[in-house]
């Protein structure tokens, strides 16, 4: 062996970015990347550079390939966004279990929301992720129950419940004047308890994680002054009993 064989591991960034490391060395270098921020940063730039070399090799793909790919994807199940993003819940979710349609649509909303947060504020992203993990646990629960109802003013509300936790999701809500907002309530024998207010603006869907719900409870949605009310002041646009 020549002395150069024992060369500094940090010089492997180029070989890594061009995929010139044999499998075992590639894995070892990826482990090194985990501990070495400067290699990580350099690799990001060099991998992007190598990809530009790839772009330069562009050649028209056979037209038949497009048809084949498009027909094949209809049979290929996508990797779950939740499993990909939320490591902490992965172990609890049987991978083979497909969410029902309603639950799946909640997961999609969840992913969009996480994306928005991840791009902006890290701390809130962490909070969002924590909430997302709890939402996911409900939505993926094998024993969950679901119910959907139209909102009287337009759109629909859905609740997914597991044990004493629930996720509420509304979509297609009509836009409100700037001094009004939707407010969500948990309704039990004692009355209506506020769960929060949807902020101003043109957003037309929202979701909420709710704890300590009873199967006899209902969720209500009302239109309130934008700061929110201590108790409902208008007729609810939606009253949704917990699913049996």
């Amino acid at each position: 062996m020549s002395p150069s064989d024992t060369h500094d591991v940090h010089t492997l960034t180029g070989a890594y970015a061009t995929d010139a490391l044999p499998e075992a060395e590639r894995r070892a270098f990826e482990e090194h990347l985990g501990d070495c921020p400067s290699c990580r940063q350099e690799v990001a730039g060099l991998v992007a550079t190598a990809a530009r070399l790839g772009v330069a090799a562009a050649a028209p793909a056979p037209p038949a390939m497009r048809e084949r790919v498009l027909s094949q994807i209809s049979t290929v199940r996508q990797v779950s966004p939740v499993v990909a993003r939320l490591e902490d819940v992965r172990a609890d979710i049987p991978w083979f279990r497909q969410p029902l349609a309603v639950a799946a649509s909640l997961l999609l909303v969840l992913t969009i929301g996480l994306g928005v947060f991840a791009a902006t504020e890290r701390q809130r992203a962490n909070d969002a992720e924590q909430t997302a993990a709890r939402i996911t646990a409900v939505v993926m629960d094998p024993d969950r129950r679901e119910a959907t109802q139209p909102v009287s003013s337009g759109g629909s509300g859905t609740v997914v419940m597991a044990d004493d936790r629930a996720v509420f999701h509304a979509a297609g809500l009509p836009e409100l004047p700037s001094d009004r907002a939707y407010q969500l309530w948990r309704i039990d024998k004692a009355g209506a308890h506020s769960l929060g207010v949807l902020g101003r603006g043109g957003d037309r869907s929202l979701q909420q994680f709710v704890e300590h719900v009873d199967s006899a409870d209902k969720l209500g949605l009302t239109v309130e002054p934008s700061a929110g009310s201590k108790a409902p002041t208008t007729t609810p646009v939606l009253v949704l009993p917990m699913p049996a």
Binding site: A44, G45, A58, P60, Q78, R85
Partner: protein, 209 residues
């Protein structure tokens, strides 16, 4: 009676409800990153648009490495299906959509190149110094395409050893050991040339680092 789920204070600053923006309509200017985000939601029209943006680069890089058109098509097809399948794993913080997809294509082609018989044949070729000079190949085959022009110009600014190391590794899929043997150069030197060659390309192409 159980505790109330939210106190009155939470009403004022509404910390709990998350607002979800409606996705914008797709068009020619939708970025590949946005398209990929939509693909992650199972959006087929977004996937078709993404396919039309990247299929030629995926196919091109695979064919450059594998040569055989039928095998290249098979691998490129697998790559595009993998894009569909794993779009949820794409992390925009770690690089662009194009880099993500091209990296996947390159890895797949490498796997094919290095598997079983193919790999044996290559070792033979390497042993007999039976290879076409990679750079001439690049110059000959690249289309008169802005990216290709830039790559060609930037490759031209490398030293011979940097350029040959980078092209043998990237376009021909050789390991750095094979490159060292092909160029009759010590391993450590090849590692360094791969690195400083790519760094020079990065700076020449203005890739953010």
């Amino acid at each position: 009676m159980r505790a109330a789920t939210a106190s009155n204070e939470t009403v004022a600053h509404m910390p709990l409800l998350r607002r979800v923006p409606a996705p914008p309509a797709l068009n020619e200017r939708t970025s590949p990153e946005e398209l990929l985000a939509r693909v992650a939601l199972g959006d087929v029209p977004a996937f078709e648009l993404l396919y039309d943006r990247v299929a030629s680069t995926v196919f091109g890089v695979v064919r450059r490495m594998l040569r055989d058109p039928a095998q290249s098509e098979e691998v490129a097809q697998e790559v595009m299906i993998e894009v569909w399948r794993t779009a949820t794993r794409f992390d925009a913080d770690r690089g662009s959509a194009s880099t993500w997809i091209l990296t996947m294509a390159h890895r797949r082609a490498i796997d094919r190149v290095r598997s079983s018989q193919a790999s044996h044949d290559r070792e033979q070729r390497v042993a007999h110094r039976d290879h076409t000079p990679a750079y001439d190949d690049v110059v000959e085959q690249v289309e008169t395409h802005l990216d290709a022009e830039q790559v060609r110009r930037c490759l031209g600014q490398l030293t011979d050893l940097q350029r040959e190391s980078v092209t043998l590794a990237y376009y021909n899929g050789h390991t750095y050991r094979e490159v060292a043997e092909l160029l009759d150069t010590p391993l450590g030197t090849v590692k360094t040339r791969l690195r400083d060659g790519l760094i020079r390309l990065r700076d020449c192409m203005g890739v953010e680092s």
